[in-house]
């Protein structure tokens, strides 16, 4: 946090004095068909205005191949720095290497890449988020109960990591039984239909962990329709506005909050510093997670 404040302070000083001129920042987002990344982008836009840099935003639409092309296009445009929110850790390595060859510094946001030279990684720890949700669930259940997990898009890193954090944590408690674990593709409608099926199959459920809020909100609809809301509680992930309302209304027990706005802001800010030759001294800036309760 201290480093963060320091960085903010530096930007404030530098921003008003030393560097004028037109810097271009390229931001390649995994998908804008998800409020989380839209907020991230908006944070980046806001910070670009403050720093008076030009921001070029590209949307990979969750396709690693398109994202590689987007990065190539950014390199052709000769942007000064690239902020990459990768669709996949391995698939983007060749693109990162191309940026390295072109001498354009590259920062990763929210998700990492498995190779190439990255100037800085800015993210929340999804595994830790899964653990937080698990710890809260286990505590609420008094270390005993039947748990259901709704998984995100099979193969997506966020789904893998959140699941890993949650599963590893609850495995430590013999009283907790993971009765069902099904994918609902991070989608609200699928969250509802998958939950309907699980409710049919499972006579007793104490808690549901959904790897994102959209699925959690869908599951809540299914639980209400089955009139079983007194029996179980739901924990989500992402803290999107609808989920915050649901937590306030008591429909959702808790949600793990990331701070996408902060990610976008930090991305542009640190990109700005890197281009201006500031030695950051760190390779990773963690964006804190927090558990939102009613």
């Amino acid at each position: 946090m201290k480093k963060l404040l320091l960085a903010l302070l530096m930007v404030a000083i530098l921003g008003f004095s030393a560097f004028a001129g037109n810097m271009t920042v390229g931001l390649s987002v995994s998908t804008l068909n998800n409020p989380f990344f839209v907020i991230l982008r908006d944070g980046a836009i806001e910070q670009s205005k403050i720093l008076e840099v030009e921001l070029v935003v590209m949307d990979a639409q969750n396709d690693p191949a398109k994202q590689v092309s987007d990065i190539e296009d950014l390199i052709q445009q000769k942007v000064d720095v690239i902020l990459l929110n990768p669709t996949d850790a391995d698939a983007l390595v060749p693109a990162v290497e191309e940026a390295n060859i072109a001498g354009i510094p590259l920062l990763t946001i929210d998700r990492s890449v498995s190779g190439g030279d990255v100037a800085l990684h800015i993210a929340s720890d999804n595994v830790k988020g899964g653990e937080m949700a698990a710890a809260y669930t286990v505590e609420q259940l008094g270390e005993k109960g039947v748990v259901v997990e709704l998984e995100g898009i099979t193969g997506a890193s966020a789904a893998r990591e959140r699941g890993e954090g949650f599963d590893t944590y609850i495995a430590k408690f013999s009283g907790i039984k993971l009765a069902a674990k099904q994918t609902a593709d991070f989608d609200r409608a699928k969250g509802m239909s998958v939950m309907e099926n699980i409710l049919q199959a499972q006579p007793k459920i104490d808690a549901i962990f959904a790897q994102n809020d959209e699925m959690a909100l869908g599951a809540i609809q299914a639980i209400k329709a089955a009139n079983r809301q007194g029996e179980m509680f739901v924990v989500g992930f992402d803290a999107v506005p609808d989920a915050l309302d649901a937590v306030k209304a008591g429909d959702m027990k808790a949600t793990v909050a990331q701070q996408p706005w902060m990610m976008g802001v930090l991305g542009v800010m640190n990109g700005y510093l890197v281009v201006n030759g500031v030695e950051l001294g760190v390779e990773f800036i963690p964006v804190p997670l927090k558990l939102i309760l009613e």
């Binding site: 804008l32 070029v56 935003v57 590209m58 949307d59 639409q61 969750n62 396709d63 690693p64 191949a65 398109k66 590689v68 092309s69 987007d70 190539e72 296009d73 950014l74 052709q76 445009q77 000769k78 996949d88 850790a89 391995d90 698939a91 983007l92 390595v93 060749p94 498995s114 190779g115 898009i153 099979t154 193969g155 893998r160």
Partner: protein, 310 residues
């Protein structure tokens, strides 16, 4: 008389006029667009969809449609990458190509022997191959591929990216097959009028099976090249690419109902799709509008092409 000749010219070469128009617009609006390095990048980006579209051209001229190419791409790439992890790049490439060809051959069999419409048969294959990919990869990307494999997607032969050379090679082979062989003529005949073709002694079922096998094989090739470009086989690779491939074929002037079409048109069509993606990126057009623009361009192109028809 003169009017109809003009219409003929528009129909045949309208796509080239469209391409030139797009190039001029983008060149004027962005100074970085019309450079050798950027054009090479566009061509390399185009190659993935171009392979799919070449195969799709055979299928569509033969009055079929192949919705499975994106999924077959993913499955072939995954199987190729999986085999390659054993260390043998060549064997992996062969496995990927074979996987694609077998899946295409199977679609062809279902269409001809079970008399299921191509739309339905390949829709089923789209689901089967995507599901198969997820089962095979367990939903995770396959990584740790041998470093020599990188050449296919990322290598250069005297400054020309290898995928471009491969794309042109495949183009010429496919062009020769379609234009200069008896098989090629039979493809046109089958798509033009299947009953007439059958009556004149063409084994139309074999032609259709061959078309889908070619489409599968080229989808496999595309999957291998994409895996090399991405340094990994992605379970979600090629999602929605069937539509890009069909759009490239239709942009290129091939009749969706079969019987007529040109492979060079498909090549230009695929290039136009690539130019649009790249040019709109260069102009920093919001990605939401990019999709709208792409849709409108396709509509205009097809409208122009149809206006040339009687």
């Amino acid at each position: 008389m003169k009017n109809s000749r003009l219409q003929d010219i528009i129909r045949q070469y309208g796509i080239l006029i469209g391409l030139a128009g797009l190039m001029i617009v983008f060149s004027v609006l962005s100074e970085r667009f019309f450079t050798i390095s950027n054009m090479l990048i566009v061509l390399r980006q185009t190659s993935i969809v171009a392979f799919l579209a070449f195969g799709m051209t055979f299928v569509i001229i033969g009055a079929g449609i192949d919705l499975s190419v994106g999924s077959v791409l993913a499955f072939s790439g995954a199987v190729g990458a999986g085999v390659m992890q054993g260390g043998n790049v060549f064997l992996g490439i062969l496995a990927g190509l074979a996987m694609g060809a077998v899946l295409g051959f199977f679609s062809g069999l279902v269409i001809t022997k079970l008399r299921i419409p191509a739309f339905i048969a390949t829709l089923a294959m789209m689901a089967i191959a995507r599901g198969g990919t997820l089962v095979y990869t367990d939903g995770r990307p396959i990584t740790g591929l041998p470093s020599t494999f990188a050449f296919l997607g990322r290598g250069y032969i005297s400054r020309i990216p290898f995928p471009i050379i491969l794309m042109m090679t495949v183009f010429f082979i496919a062009y020769i097959i379609l234009k200069l062989t008896r098989f090629g003529r039979y493809v046109y005949a089958t798509g033009g009028n299947i009953n007439a073709a059958r009556a004149s002694g063409i084994k139309v079922q074999n032609i259709i099976i061959a078309n889908f096998t070619i489409s599968g094989l080229l989808s496999g090739l595309s999957g291998i090249i994409l895996a090399s470009r991405l340094n990994s086989a992605q379970p979600t690779a090629g999602l929605g690419y069937e539509l890009d491939a069909i759009a490239a074929v239709v942009l290129g002037g091939t009749n969706l109902f079969g019987g007529e079409g040109e492979l060079w048109g498909t090549l230009v069509g695929a290039f136009i799709m690539g130019i649009l993606n790249n040019g709109l990126n260069m102009l920093n057009v919001s990605s939401f509008y990019q999709q709208v623009v792409k849709g409108i361009v396709i509509l205009i192109a097809v409208t122009v092409a149809q206006s040339g028809k009687k």
